[in-house]
């Protein structure tokens, strides 16, 4: 038997969060420290299973001695850091981030926490005026230019719903550009790179090459992008249809945890069932092997359990 050295216990670093000392293992982020201190910190682009891109800026905190606010989700704790999470500056920036997002994209299908944060920070998305109707196709926007600025409202991110494959729908008018799907499709999980951020500035958008339909892209329909999307921009086709029809009822859904029947890996599945039909498949994010990821079979291959005549 080979002797295995015991792992070196991580060294603790101590910082203060809102005045109270907090000791966290070296390498932890300010977000970890906030969570340990029991402080609810809003996050949109952060996910435990992905490398932080710190793009949304809703998690910013004040660190003593820093000129600007810093993103809690990615900044490592340094010994002696003094962190404030509820100052005027922090509240203002968090409120503005929420107002700016809500003034430009449709958030009614976003994760419920988002609505809670909008309330907590008193965000008023309407203060920039009513969302304006589309003026140009976003998918063709040229970098460095934009059309006339209109004075009667707030320009918004309109894009027609992309319903181009049998499995899932992309509704980028709901996209907050959190980069999570791009990460999940790329180096963080799937290594397929079917989607990326294209364009720049306000016209930046998630896209395949030249906006080709998904079947012409590299997509393998693992659905890992759907799993991480916080806004409902990416959704199972059935879910999208039911929401449109008004029949989607999360409160009537039952989640059954099971194991994928297809191959020997045996990924954990969570089948979301409404009215005796599977309407969505997820996988537990905390599972140490699969970390929320599945392949096309586990994610979308559930028709056989409910094959009913007349349904595709």
């Amino acid at each position: 038997m080979t002797a295995r050295p015991l792992p070196i216990p991580p060294r603790l670093v101590t910082c203060s969060v809102d005045g109270a000392p907090v000791a966290v293992p070296q390498g932890s982020t300010l977000l970890d420290a906030c969570r340990q201190a029991g402080i609810d910190t809003p996050t949109l682009c952060y996910l435990e299973t992905l490398a932080p891109v710190n793009a949304c800026r809703v998690c910013v905190v004040e660190v003593e001695g820093s000129r600007t606010l810093v993103p809690a989700c990615s900044r490592p704790v340094e010994p002696g850091m003094a962190v404030r999470t509820d100052t005027e500056r922090v509240r203002l920036s968090r409120r503005l981030v929420l107002e700016l997002l809500a003034s430009s994209v449709t958030l009614d299908r976003a994760a419920p926490e988002l609505r809670r944060w909008i309330e907590r920070y008193g965000a008023d998305p309407g203060r920039f005026g009513p969302p304006l109707p589309p003026t140009h196709p976003r998918d063709a926007a040229a970098p460095g230019h934009h059309g006339a600025v209109l004075v009667d409202g707030a320009e918004a991110c309109h894009q027609p719903v992309k319903d181009d494959n049998p499995n899932y729908v992309r509704d980028y008018a709901r996209c907050i550009l959190c980069y999570k799907c791009v990460e999940a499709c790329g180096t963080e999980a799937q290594n397929t790179f079917a989607i990326a951020v294209a364009g720049r500035g306000f016209a930046a958008r998630i896209s395949t090459e030249y906006d080709v339909p998904l079947p012409d892209s590299a997509c393998v329909y693992c659905g890992n992008c759907i799993e991480v999307c916080p806004t409902g921009a990416l959704a199972f086709r059935g879910e999208h249809r039911m929401r449109g029809e008004g029949t989607w009822a999360e409160e009537r859904q039952v989640v059954t945890t099971t194991i994928c029947p297809y191959c020997g890996v045996g990924c954990n599945l969570e089948l979301h069932v409404q009215d005796n039909a599977v309407v969505r498949v997820t996988s537990p994010l905390g599972h140490e092997v699969t970390r929320g990821n599945l392949c096309v079979k586990g994610r979308f291959g559930f028709q056989f359990v409910q094959n009913r005549p007349g349904e595709g």
Partner: protein, 630 residues
């Protein structure tokens, strides 16, 4: 990763363009893997390969992009993400000739707004402008063949000449980019009608150097206009290569001591001590080290680096070589904005000659030091001048900045310890070596040592680059440029560029030092001194600045991506006297936006996107906003 590419084959021209850069394609051999490390090493060729397509066929077509992806093993979605980021690359079909017509803040003072309006009526809307509803075919008069089009452009860095324009023409041979300047309406129409772009007239870009006798106080500009920019021998005859010799004799530690004594700080905007930056890289135990010259100069109103690159390119090569020696780097890069084709050509020529003559290569001037330099061309993105964005651009990505820390001295280009400096800073280093650190520190004031280049433009008689020892006042700088044009009255000065602040005539006595402008609530930034007289439409200028930040935001972070849009909208409403709610409510919104952009944005672009706007409001430059109680 398996590449899935469109099955449409690239055209012969597209293949030729890409193969011209990458060499002929290897013979297909299914047994040899071409992914992994080797593919990652090829990624940095992505931007040059896309540029090769653009230069040759006028756009990056799906088939052309697929061919690049195949050659470099890059996923097409990512390559499209890169291609669609840069303003000088087109991802849709375009006319073979496109004239980028500057309509930015300085050219506007000279009537660029009217020039674009005239183009709109005589030629039709710019290529990327949404055609206004009900717009008919272009009016008769100058009928433009579909082979040509125009597009409004942000500052092209030729502000001292005014009416700048840049011609982009798909071609199999010769340069695809050429500067026009100054280009009045007729010159633009001439190119749009198929005519050859007229070479820009030799410019008097540095009036102090053009004067006879030359101003003896010139240090950074001492060779400008005097030396043949194509001749290494002439460069040497004018004092070139002495600094490098001295650096080699002193060794890295010795040079760092001189730099420390000089108290030189960076001229690229952040005023960071150069010695500290270089020491951090030189002493970093992680190898290899890299050095980068930042010649992306895209801050509206800035053109000093262009003048240095065009007139004294060997000095830039020499300074980067010194930087390599001191920082322990054997490889350097110079990233130069795509809108500077003439400067790029001269720099490339200088690098080639330097290599032939042993000034770059395995043994510098016969010493044990080795260094080589690669020139990289930008593709139309102000944000690529931000140092971490610049790294990503060279690496073959979208020029998106990242959060610091980690700083470039720990994790820079390709993840290696990297020092990056502005071109003017680098020329200051040569001066430190020429006269010694203490002598350099004796020039200027306590906190601001040495000389500074000022890009004086707008409503002055003799716009251009001026060099002064720190301590000169704003009024003296304007006077050197001949004062305000034809007896008009000064209304405001934009100090530091679009990311800077407006100051009023009461600031004429302010010393243009780091500490002096700070007390006036401004910054020196990139050395922009843009004078606005009482005929200039200040509201229009402020709105153009807001538009610039919106157009140049990389789009990563919410405060900047959406905040710059909301800021532009609020200014449009104020200008139209149609505030949402009340004027006070608009000002409240603008203040909230300013605060959150400054506090919560990732990089300096978002952090400064509201600075000029807020200073204009404070100064009352926006009449609609000034009758408010505050």
């Amino acid at each position: 990763m398996d590449l899935r590419l469109t099955s449409t084959p690239a055209t012969a021209a597209e293949r030729a363009a890409v193969d011209g850069l990458l060499g002929p394609p290897p013979l297909a051999d299914g047994r040899v893997a071409s992914g992994g490390h080797r593919a990652r090493a090829r990624r940095q060729q992505l931007l040059p390969a896309l540029q090769a397509l653009q230069d040759r066929v006028g756009w990056v077509s799906p088939a052309g992009l697929a061919y690049v992806c195949e050659r470099l093993t890059v996923p097409p979605a990512e390559a499209y993400g890169v291609a669609s980021f840069y303003a000088l690359l087109a991802t849709g079909p375009r006319p073979a000739t496109v004239v980028h017509v500057c309509d930015d803040i300085v050219c506007r003072v000279g009537g660029a707004g009217a020039r674009c309006e005239a183009l709109r009526t005589r030629v039709g809307p710019g290529l990327d402008e949404a055609a206004p509803a009900g717009n008919g075919p272009p009016a008769d008069g100058a009928r433009v063949p579909a082979a040509a089009g125009w597009v409004p452009s942000p500052c092209l860095g030729r502000c001292e000449q005014g009416s700048a324009a840049l011609v982009q023409r798909a071609t199999a041979d010769g340069p695809a980019l050429r500067s026009l300047g100054p280009a009045p309406l007729e010159a633009v129409l001439h190119v749009l009608a198929g005519g050859e772009p007229l070479a820009p007239a030799p410019a008097m870009s540095a009036p102090q150097a053009a004067r006879s006798p030359r101003d003896p106080g010139l240090r950074l500009l001492r060779r400008v206009g005097l030396v043949d920019p194509a001749s290494l021998d002439d460069y040497r005859a004018h004092g070139g290569l002495e600094p490098l010799r001295r650096a080699i004799a002193l060794g890295p530690r010795g040079v760092l001591r001189e730099l420390e004594a000089s108290r030189l700080v960076g001229r690229g905007g952040a005023a960071f001590p150069t010695a500290a930056k270089w020491r951090a890289v030189a002493e970093n135990p992680v190898q290899p080290h890299l050095v980068v010259g930042n010649a992306d100069e895209s801050e509206p109103g800035t053109f000093k680096d262009r003048v240095l690159l065009e007139a004294d390119p060997f000095a830039v090569v020499e300074a980067l070589t010194v930087m390599g020696v001191v920082c322990g780097a054997r490889q350097g890069y110079c990233y130069i904005r795509g809108e500077y084709p003439e400067a790029e050509a001269r720099l490339r020529h200088a690098v080639t000659v330097a290599r032939q003559r042993g000034l770059l290569g395995p043994s510098l001037l016969g010493s044990a030091y080795a260094f080589d330099l690669e020139v990289r061309r930008g593709a139309g993105a102000y944000i690529a001048g931000e140092e971490t964005a610049l790294f990503r651009s060279i690496e073959g990505g979208r020029a998106e900045p990242r959060n610091k820390p980690p700083f470039p001295s720990d994790a820079g280009l390709f993840g290696h310890p990297t020092a990056v400096n502005n071109i003017e800073t680098l020329l200051c280093v040569l001066e430190v070596l020429r006269i010694g650190g203490p002598a350099f520190a004796a020039i200027g004031t306590g906190e601001s040592t040495g000389t500074r280049l000022f890009c004086v433009s707008g409503a002055v008689e003799r716009p251009g680059v001026f060099e002064f020892a720190f301590g000169v006042t704003l009024g003296q700088v304007l006077a050197a440029a001949g004062g305000i044009r034809s007896g008009r009255r000064l209304r405001a000065v934009l100090l530091g560029g679009a990311a800077g602040s407006f100051v009023g005539p009461e600031a004429l006595h302010v010393e243009l030092t780091f500490e002096g402008v700070r007390t006036a609530g401004a910054t020196l930034g990139s050395g922009v001194v843009l004078a606005l007289d009482d005929t200039v439409d200040a509201v229009d200028c402020v709105r153009r600045i807001a538009r610039f930040f919106r157009d140049e935001s990389c789009g990563q972070c919410v405060p900047c991506r959406v905040g710059t849009v909301r800021q532009e909208e609020a200014l449009a409403r104020l200008a139209a006297a149609r505030p949402l709610g009340s004027t006070a409510a608009e000002l409240d919104r603008l203040r909230d936006l300013a605060e959150s952009m400054r506090d919560a944005s990732i990089c300096g672009l978002g952090q400064t996107a509201a600075v000029a706007v807020q200073s204009a409001l404070r100064m009352g430059l926006l009449p609609a906003a000034s009758e408010r109680p505050r």
